[in-house]
């Protein structure tokens, strides 16, 4: 990898103690299980997987909102745990899914966008105003909205406000958690165009969490597929979409409904429910739903294979001794 990683996860795990029901003893739920990832400068890493796979827990750990149970999060090579929350917030900022609930309805747009400056005690009121206006210009909002309130804006405009707020401290990494899934199609395309423009102009690095694979395909440079807390496959976007290796990735890609009439609805053969993360299946966690499962899959967890195409965790692709870490 040529670019130095802006963000690095080393064997990060997060375990929650949860009660499976009334009066039942609490048991560990491993939401994120030994995840190692790197984000190079200027990259867009797409993180995909079904609800409950641990995507959002991972994002919270990256933002320093949740401490990992094990492992380390490094920002520019420095560990994030123990670091000052504010120092982290200067470098990593989130954009959340729902622009209706992530903006304080009682604050004006100007206040919302400039809040990070005030929290970090950067500049004076004159500079706050100037930088807020610059940000509004940057995200394509008229300056006059600074005096408006969130309820006066449309969904797309609110998401632009959320992006302006995330960018005002000039962070290096933006964590986008489902940034367009609450928006209409015509607005989604505008926000995606904006994210792409901003990345080019400001050299931003994105972690894009989404269940919309078409969106991920469109803006990510690399994609990591998560299943039950683990990264089961990672590859360059084009490679992953054209030649998926993991049967789970294949099933995910198959279930993307492209607007092509006549193809019908695909049968993913994924079987029924997503497994209960409190009782993960033995061996490879995907084996109960896997059309290609063999005996070994329920007995032993596959090793991670790292090769020129990225990484894969599946018994169909045994780890090569030399390629192992």
């Amino acid at each position: 990898m040529s670019a130095p990683p802006v963000l690095e996860l080393k064997g990060v795990s997060k375990t929650f103690m949860v009660s499976p029901g009334f009066f039942k003893p609490r048991r560990p739920l491993r939401a994120v299980d030994d995840v190692s990832l790197t984000l190079g400068r200027g990259e867009v890493l797409g993180l995909v997987g079904e609800s409950g796979c641990g995507k959002s827990t991972l994002a919270k750990m990256l933002l320093g909102l949740l401490p990992p149970s094990r492992g380390e999060v490094l920002v520019d090579g420095e560990p994030l745990t123990g670091a000052d929350r504010k120092a982290v917030a200067r470098r990593i900022q989130p954009v959340f899914q729902d622009p209706y609930s992530s903006l304080n309805p009682r604050k004006s747009i100007g206040d919302i966008v400039s809040l990070p400056l005030r929290v970090h005690r950067v500049g004076d009121p004159r500079e706050w105003k100037k930088r807020t206006e610059e940000m509004l210009d940057l995200v394509g909002l008229p300056r006059r909205v600074a005096g408006s309130y969130p309820s006066q804006l449309s969904g797309g405009q609110r998401q632009r406000v959320a992006i302006a707020r995330a960018l005002i401290m000039r962070p290096e990494v933006v964590i986008c958690d489902e940034p367009t899934s609450a928006l209409d199609v015509s607005v989604q395309s505008q926000i995606l165009n904006l994210l792409l423009d901003l990345r080019r102009e400001l050299g931003l690095t994105y972690l894009l969490i989404s269940h919309n694979l078409a969106v991920v395909e469109h803006i990510a440079t690399r994609v990591a597929v998560m299943y039950l807390g683990r990264i089961v496959e990672e590859a360059e976007t084009g490679d992953l979409f054209e030649r998926p290796r993991h049967p789970y990735t294949e099933a995910l890609l198959k279930s993307v409904l492209t607007p092509e009439p006549g193809l019908g609805v695909p049968d993913t053969h994924l079987g029924l429910a997503y497994p209960n993360p409190i009782d993960p299946p033995s061996g490879c966690a995907f084996h109960p739903r896997c059309p290609k499962a063999e005996a070994v899959c329920s007995e032993r967890r596959p090793d991670t294979r790292r090769d020129e195409r990225g990484r894969i965790e599946c018994h169909l692709y045994p780890a090569v001794a030399a390629a192992a870490e």
Partner: protein, 333 residues
């Protein structure tokens, strides 16, 4: 004769500042065994249309139509009591949010069997047998044990399957589904749509599916009606609409969505600048005028539906070859 036929369907909501014309005279029909997708963005009136069909509109909203027939019955002449005999029985609805549309204080079994017990007067045992059969059909394992569970004990995907099973209990001729898969993962979405298509073939039901997802439309619909600002702006067979969209709004929508393998990765997507017009008060001009790159003088008048071959129609003053770009619109919504 069509199973469901609506002509000039309107929904008006009186507000303090005037009347909101949420659905402004739309026409559509569905044959037995056919799937009609109504597609459009928030606020276009698609959900109110589905509620109007079921006579479940909010109290203040008024429904009117030149014709509104279901299986030869004039729906406008029905008393509320007769409507109740139809609803859940011969026409059923699947709502968007399985979380809020199931009653949290009754078991799945109670809710599943209610319609059958009410409409068909079967015994409790028969009703439970049918419930178990349908839960199995929608792919729920250990179906019998699910009957005693409460909605909160089920995952989102399972709840939506329960909703589908519930809509099938009385063997309806028509199912109206409002965004049945929007809240679900792509994998579950594919499974549920697959199931709906399969059940439709098997039981010959008609399906009206309300969605904003053109991918879903392309894969499941026989016919499509594109709604914008309370009107149907384009209608036709799925093949015709996707092969040759005619209305500037439909064209715009199609360019907005990234399609793996077709749109250039990282390239600019199309967009539809501007916002939906207010539907309060009378509107004389074309509803899409303010967002249309081809808007011109005639657009001050509402265009009628223009027919092309094969039942394909669209609401625009201009044929595609007659349009020229008149405005460079700035994207800022």
């Amino acid at each position: 004769m069509a199973l469901l036929e609506a002509r000039g369907l309107r929904v008006d909501i009186p507000l303090a500042g005037g009347t909101l014309h949420a659905v402004r005279g739309i026409d559509f029909s569905v044959e037995k065994g056919e799937t009609l997708c109504i597609v459009g963005e928030s606020g276009c009136g698609k959900s109110l249309t589905s509620l109007a069909l079921m006579n479940l509109l909010p109290r203040k909203a008024r429904r009117s139509a030149e014709r509104l027939n279901f299986a030869g019955i004039d729906l406008q002449a029905l008393s509320e009591r007769d409507y109740a005999r139809l609803r859940g029985n011969r026409m059923a609805m699947i709502f968007q949010e399985p979380m809020t549309s199931l009653n949290p204080s009754y078991t799945v079994g109670d809710q599943l069997t209610e319609a059958l017990l009410t409409h068909k007067g079967v015994s409790h045992r028969e009703a439970r047998e049918r419930a178990v059969y349908l839960l199995e059909r929608v792919g729920i394992t250990a179906a019998a044990s699910r009957l005693g569970q409460y909605p909160h004990q089920l995952s989102g995907g399972l709840r939506q399957r329960v909703m589908i099973a519930m809509s099938l209990m009385c063997g309806p001729e028509l199912i109206i589904a409002d965004e049945p898969t929007t809240a679900l993962d792509v994998t579950i979405q594919a499974q549920i749509l697959h199931l709906l298509a399969e059940l439709q073939r098997e039981f010959g039901m008609a399906l009206v599916l309300i969605t904003h997802d053109l991918g879903v439309v392309a894969r499941i619909a026989h016919k499509v009606a594109v709604m914008y600002a309370g009107q149907v702006v384009e209608a036709g067979s799925t093949e015709a609409i996707f092969a040759a969209p005619q209305h500037p709004y439909t064209l715009g929508l199609m360019e907005c969505i990234p399609v793996p393998g077709r749109t250039e990765r990282g390239g600019r997507l199309g967009s539809i600048p501007g916002i939906v017009p207010s539907l309060v008060g009378e509107m004389r001009h074309c509803a899409f005028r303010g967002r249309c790159p081809f808007a011109d003088t005639p657009c001050a008048e509402d265009p009628g539906l223009r027919e092309t071959s094969g039942g394909h129609s669209y609401r625009c003053h201009f044929r595609p070859e007659e349009r020229r770009v008149t405005a460079e619109l700035e994207a800022s919504a």
